[in-house]
Every structure is written in structure tokens, then in C-alpha cells.
Amino acid sequence: MTVAPPPPAGSTTPRRRRMPRDLPRFIVLCLLSVLFLAPIYWMISTSLKTEADAIATPVQWIPRNITFENYTSVLTSPDGNILRWTWNSLYVAAAFTIIHVALCALTAYPLARMQFRGRNAWFWFILSSLMIPGIVTLIPTYIMMLNFNWINSYHALIWPGISGVFGVFLLRQFFVGIPRELEEAARLDGANSLQILWRIILPLSIPPLVTLAVFSFMGSWNNFLWPLFTVTDVDKMTLPVGITTFSQRYVTEYGKLMASTTLAAVPALIAYLLAQRFLESGLSTSGLKE
């Protein structure tokens, strides 16, 4: 295996000096990768072991008798349906993302590109709500869900977070930078404001829109605390909550437990592979975290 990459164009470092200098760094990175991958390896390898092998001492570093029994028994378990939970999570996250991004775009548009009374006041008013920690509204929003009869319904999972303001902020910052001339030319051609938003502003804003969509989807998909308390009906649970109830039931059946967490990790892993570039670049440009 070769270690040193060819020196980048314009680099003055001679090639033969690069390799020994990079080698320690490469070895450190390899060791750290092993540490980072070990839990994932252990999860998958435990899920492929028989129950006796999973708890055998000394531990089996490599599964001796590979079996898919844990997967079949988890997928057909009467205690909960992983596929159903995955579907619930997908449905809730998709609905949340579509509504949230549309709302944010509609709100950011006049705030960025129109003159009207109260524009800055409203912008700062909604922006300042970012300072209110979520824990303040936890109990009252829960009581509201009780009053609306929304406990154990998708509504409780979709609506309360829908008016988040960070997306408005993110899109407004981008919309402000779009050149005036494009909009003026469209207006001369007789376009109204909705057409300008749809045909000019939004197509030019694909990167922040995708960033916002990816993070909205991930936020909803990974939401844990709120669904844990608002949805107690097993069939309505989302994946993170459902998997936790599994783990309480199968607390000593490690093979099944690890098969269920592996299954729960698969959609996120696939999504990550598809959206890797957006995720990392979106994170570093928007300053969003988790």
C-alpha cells in the first residue's frame, strides 16, 4: 500500500521527504479509525452470533457460527414492528421537512427582498425566540397536545416544531445576496412576486434549501425526548423510541438487541452515504450542529 499521495501542484516539498513525514500521521489516523469503528463492528458481529456465543467468555472477537436468526426473530417479533417504526419515522420526518422548508422560504422571502413597515422588527422578534430554551415550552406544549387530543398521533410529532426560526434565518441570509438585477428584469417581464420567488429566488437557492431540508429531516428523524412522551402506542412510535422499548424488553438478549440497533442504524447509514457531501458542507457553512 502506498502511503504518500503525489504532491499537489505548486507544492515545493520534494516527494521523497513527504512520505516519512506523513507516515506517523497516517498511522495515528488508522489507529483512531480502528477505535471509532470498533463499536460498529461489535454491534454487527454480536448481531450475527447465537445468544450463547454473544455472552461467551472469553469473548468471541470473530463470530464462529454466523446466524441471521436474531434478524428474523426481531423482524417478526410480536413486541413491535421495526419496519412499521421506520415507516412512521420516514412519514413524520418527510412531512415535517416539506412543510417546514416551505414555511421558512415563504417567510424569508419578504424579509429579505421586500420593503414594508415592521420588517426588521418582526425579523428580530422571531429571531429572538431562538434564545428561549426548548425546556421552557416542553410541559405547556404537552398539555396543549392533551387538549388538542393529539397524544399518540402524528400531529404531535409534526406540528409543534414546525415554526422553527433558524431556517428562516438561514434562507434570509442567502436570499439577501441574490442580485437585484435578476428580480428587476423579471418584474419588467410582468412577473409577480410569487413567480419571482418560484422561478428566480428558489432555483438560485438550491444549496441552502437542501441544507435546511437535510437538517430538518435529520432533526425530526433523530428526535427522541418529545416522541418518547407524546407517543406511547406501539404502532405509532418512531424508530428511536421503538428501539428503546425493545431494549427494555430484550435487556439480556444481546444478539437480538444488536440486530435491532443494526436495523435501526441502516436507514441513517444509507442516507449518510447518499447525502454525505451536503451534510458536511452544509454543516460547515451554516454553522448548524446536531
Binding site: 467468555t57 469473548v59 415563504l106 422571531i126 416542553l138
Partner: protein
């Protein structure tokens, strides 16, 4: 669709200084979000205050006014609310104090290792970033299994490399923090690393060239160029990581369920226990406000850095 701007002929025909007609168009765009914003953000704040000043009893259906009683409970030593609230708030603070420096320093270290081109860089980046996409329950169940008292991988590795006896991590006070902190680092380090990698890419190479011409050692370049140039992103990473750490909930809930004997219970877990398990909604709402006030300071710092961002792009 009608264009609502007033035609110019109308303006010239009227009085010399006509008031521009109120254009309702922008308000129509704002309306859907504004309605939901009032229902799900503004109203719950006031409603929460109302709940915390009344005794909310769902069974009897009556909510008598009790004033500041639930707030007094939190500040009166000896009540269970005060004991557990401050204990779990300290637990959360302890977790923040321990995990934040590790999460910031290790992220910077990783970013420095990966900043310059190296064979397999994209692979390493993916490896360090990937755990962050797992949901907290998957991460928690996995790390509980890693630190299992008898047959977890950590104890097995200690046995293999050091011939050391197994340690009952999950059931020993103090030690139970180790799986939570280690799991959280594994889980979130990649986010901070990515922010640092982006910031490192923005440091002008000419600074390092000038420094090396002046005979600066690598340590001096790091100390006097890299560290100051990264100061803004370090502040951002520090504040967002501290905010996230104070939100500790899922990790300790899934890995230790707050135990042994509440030693790893987070304040948010306690508030949800008081609210949802004990059905003491008013008491939990009051705690939400007290803890919220506590968090407000940190949030204000982050808000200021965002406000600066607004000014730069022109409000």
C-alpha cells in the same frame, strides 16, 4: 395573481405628497408562519408560566392558583423537588465540564491531523463523522453493551491487553459517567471536527509561509497563527457544544437510566420524570423555567455571534 403596486398615474392625479398605499403582499407571505409561530412558540411560553403558577391536576380537572409555591419548592432545601433538581442540575453541569473540553480539543486535534492531504483522507473523515448520524437510542444501547459489566467489549479488551479484572462500569457511582462521556465523544466529535476543518481551510497559507521564512517552528506557527485565526470558530464550537451538553438526556437515559441512584440522571430527565411520570405538571413547568433561565445566558452568547452575522450581510 394581481400586482398590488399602485399605478403611477393615480399618484400624480392626487395630492402632491400621497401616502403610499399599504402593500399587504409581504404580510400575506408572513402569515402562515406567524400563525404557527404564535400557537407553538409564543403561546406556550405564557401558558407554561400560567401552569407553573397553578396546581395542574388532570384527574380532578381543577387548577387552583397557588402563586409561587412550585418555585419556592425548588429553592427550599429539604423538599424532594429541591434535592433532586439541584442534584441533577449539578450532574448535568459536571457532564458539561468534563465533556466540553474533550470535545473541543479532540475535534481540533483530529482536524489538524486531517487538514493536510493524506492517503485515505475522505475515508477517515467519513469514519469520524459517521457515528453522529446514529440516533441517540442506537448510540446508547450500543455503548451500554460496550461497557457491559461482565462481557462488554471494554472489559474484554482490558482482560486481553492488561489481564485486568472486569470493572462494573454501569453500576458504580462515578464510573457510570465513563460510558456516557466516551459514548458522547464518539457520537459528536465528527461535527466539531468538520467545523474546524472548514475553518482551517480559511486560514491564508501566506501567513504560514511568512512565518517559516522568519524561522518559526511548527509549534510557534500553531500557537501564533492557527490558534488566533481559529478563535471565532472555537468560541462557536465551545458555546454550541456546551449548549448541547446541558441538553443531556438520551445518552444517560439509555445507557444508565440515570443510575446508579440518580448519580447520572440529567436535569432534563428529572424534569420529565416529575412532569410525565409523577404527573406534577406545574412543578415540572416551574423547573423548566428555572433551568431555562440558567440556559439563557449561554444561548445569549451564541445569539450575539449570530446577530453579528446578520449585520455583516446587511439587515
Amino acid at each position: 395573481m394581481t400586482v398590488t403596486n399602485a399605478p403611477s398615474e393615480v399618484a400624480t392625479a392626487r395630492a402632491p405628497a400621497p401616502r403610499p398605499r399599504l402593500n399587504i403582499e409581504p404580510y400575506l407571505y408572513l402569515l402562515p408562519h406567524a400563525l404557527l409561530f404564535f400557537v407553538f412558540t409564543i403561546y406556550p411560553i405564557g401558558y407554561g408560566l400560567y401552569i407553573s403558577l397553578h396546581r395542574w391536576d388532570l384527574l380532578s380537572g381543577r387548577q387552583p392558583f397557588v402563586g409561587g409555591e412550585f418555585y419556592r419548592n425548588i429553592f427550599t432545601p429539604g423538599t424532594p423537588q429541591a434535592d433532586f433538581f439541584w442534584k441533577t442540575l449539578w450532574n448535568t453541569t459536571f457532564f458539561t465540564i468534563v465533556s466540553v473540553p474533550l470535545l473541543v480539543a479532540a475535534a481540533l486535534g483530529l482536524a489538524l491531523l486531517l487538514h493536510k492531504p493524506i492517503f485515505g483522507r475522505a475515508f477517515f473523515r467519513a469514519v469520524f463523522f459517521m457515528p453522529g448520524i446514529l440516533t441517540v437510542s442506537v448510540m446508547g444501547i450500543l455503548w451500554r453493551w460496550m461497557f457491559d459489566n461482565q462481557i462488554g467489549l471494554v472489559n474484554a479488551a482490558r482482560e486481553l491487553f492488561f489481564r485486568a479484572p472486569p470493572i462494573p462500569w454501569l453500576s458504580t457511582e462515578g464510573l457510570a459517567w465513563v460510558p456516557i462521556v466516551v459514548g458522547t465523544i464518539w457520537w459528536t466529535l465528527g461535527f466539531n471536527m468538520t467545523l474546524y476543518l472548514a475553518a482551517l481551510g480559511n486560514v491564508p497559507a501566506s501567513l504560514y509561509e511568512a512565518a517559516s521564512l522568519d524561522g518559526a517552528t511548527p509549534w510557534q506557527s500553531f500557537r501564533f497563527i492557527t490558534v488566533p485565526m481559529l478563535a471565532p470558530v472555537t468560541l462557536f464550537v465551545l458555546v454550541t457544544t456546551a449548549l448541547a451538553s446541558f441538553q443531556l438526556f438520551g445518552q444517560s437515559l439509555v445507557i444508565t437510566n440515570g443510575g446508579p441512584s440518580r448519580s447520572t440522571q440529567s436535569v432534563i430527565q428529572y424534569i420529565t420524570e416529575e412532569g410525565f411520570t409523577n404527573a406534577q405538571y406545574s412543578s415540572a413547568a416551574a423547573m423548566g423555567f428555572v433551568f431555562g433561565l440558567f440556559m439563557l445566558v449561554l444561548t445569549a452568547i451564541q445569539f450575539r455571534s449570530m446577530a453579528r452575522d446578520v449585520k455583516e450581510t446587511g439587515a
